[in-house]
Amino acid sequence: MGVTMGERLFVIGNEALGWGALNAGCEAYIGYPITPQNETTEWFAQEFPRRGRVFVQSQSEVGSINILFGAAATGARAMTSTSGPGWGLMQEGMSHLVNGELPAVISLVQRGGPGAGTTRHGQMDYLSATRGGGQGGYKNIVLTPASVQESHDFVQLAFYLADKYRNPVIVMTDGLLGQMAEPLELRTLDFGSLPQKDWAVRGRANQPDGIRRAVSAMQGLMPTPPHPPYTGFLDLLKVLDEKYRKMEESEVRYETYLIEDAELIIVAYGYTARVAKEAIKWVRREGFKVGMIRPLSVWPFPYQIIREKASYGCRFLVVEDSLGQLVEDVRIGVQGRTDVHLVGALARHDPSDGGMVLPDSVLDEIYRLMK
């Protein structure tokens, strides 16, 4: 399909991830289909080879993440996508990517868990994505789009941030956003200049200084000069620590909605943020002062604004399609100053894997808290 910039398409969220990667200059996709992100893999299989780019369907998600390690080590922009059990299989590889300081993008289309759970939507990988689910306590930026357009834009932002920090970045959507069709405007976003990838493994002939490069998943224990020439494990830890601090300082992103006069603030990301917004529109008409903070990055988390609002006495309601994961971050932000409530997966309109958290259950909770 020949398309031009600025063109508007009617696509689902999973395909928007692909369009975003294409517009970010992604050169390789390595993935394994898993519901509900099959359309992403399908999109790349269809669109990448015909554009001369690389598509690999790996033998499993363990294969995906390790091939991604190799692709990222060459300095190419590469990504994978997964969901549910595949996410679990990728954890060790994610940790190696952080150790090797390699930039890569992983899109996580969340489904219901634990275990194989369901193939339908859910928001149940929040803690595993934001807390470094693999070994060794690493950290990575997690972006949370809430529309098809944002899915497209955030993949581009993710590639930029990955290259900026030499660290994997996760774009975390969910089954609903992945399967939902909306208009998408194709555009290339410019976030600024990036340093040269002089560390990339490109073959001796392609290195200006004629010295081969090595990337190791045991960086810190093994010498991997020339960039960076770590002499020991603590050197690695210091560099990672500095990197994490810099991310926490400069990469917090959130969106607010009617919070200036709000007495109750809803915190939600992804599809439940749209559900909560609908509920807020309804109760605002009845005079209830309710607003919303929507984190666009859930790590680093916007603790500051939540702390600020809690110190003015605002109460908090978390709406998420899980048994309570985002709510833990909000509690950290509130620091016990006010109460934090939860509308979770048990409030789905239908007691099945296809059920959704709908505005009705959010409304009920708002009435209960404010009347």
Partner: protein, 77 residues
């Protein structure tokens, strides 16, 4: 002042040149006229002054032919 030195075991060396290619200080070359007992070109530690004992040559050597020694300053008296 060199920070360390390396020892190349000519029994194991296969003359592949990885140590030469990866050394950030260009301390190693493949010899033109010295050969291993098996007939491969022997890698030679030619620039000991620049060696930082980083260990990449040993790390990359597929045949475990290189040992790296780091100099440690010892205070006496």
């Amino acid at each position: 002042m060199a920070k360390g030195e390396i020892a190349i075991d000519e029994i194991y060396c296969r003359g592949c040149g990885y140590c030469r290619d990866f050394c950030p200080k260009k301390c190693i070359t493949l010899s033109e006229n010295n050969f291993t007992p098996q007939g491969y070109r022997l890698s030679c530690f030619v620039n000991p002054e620049a060696c930082t004992a980083c260990g990449i040559c040993s790390f990359m050597c597929p045949h475990h032919a290189i040992e790296v020694y780091k100099y440690v300053e010892v205070k006496t008296g």
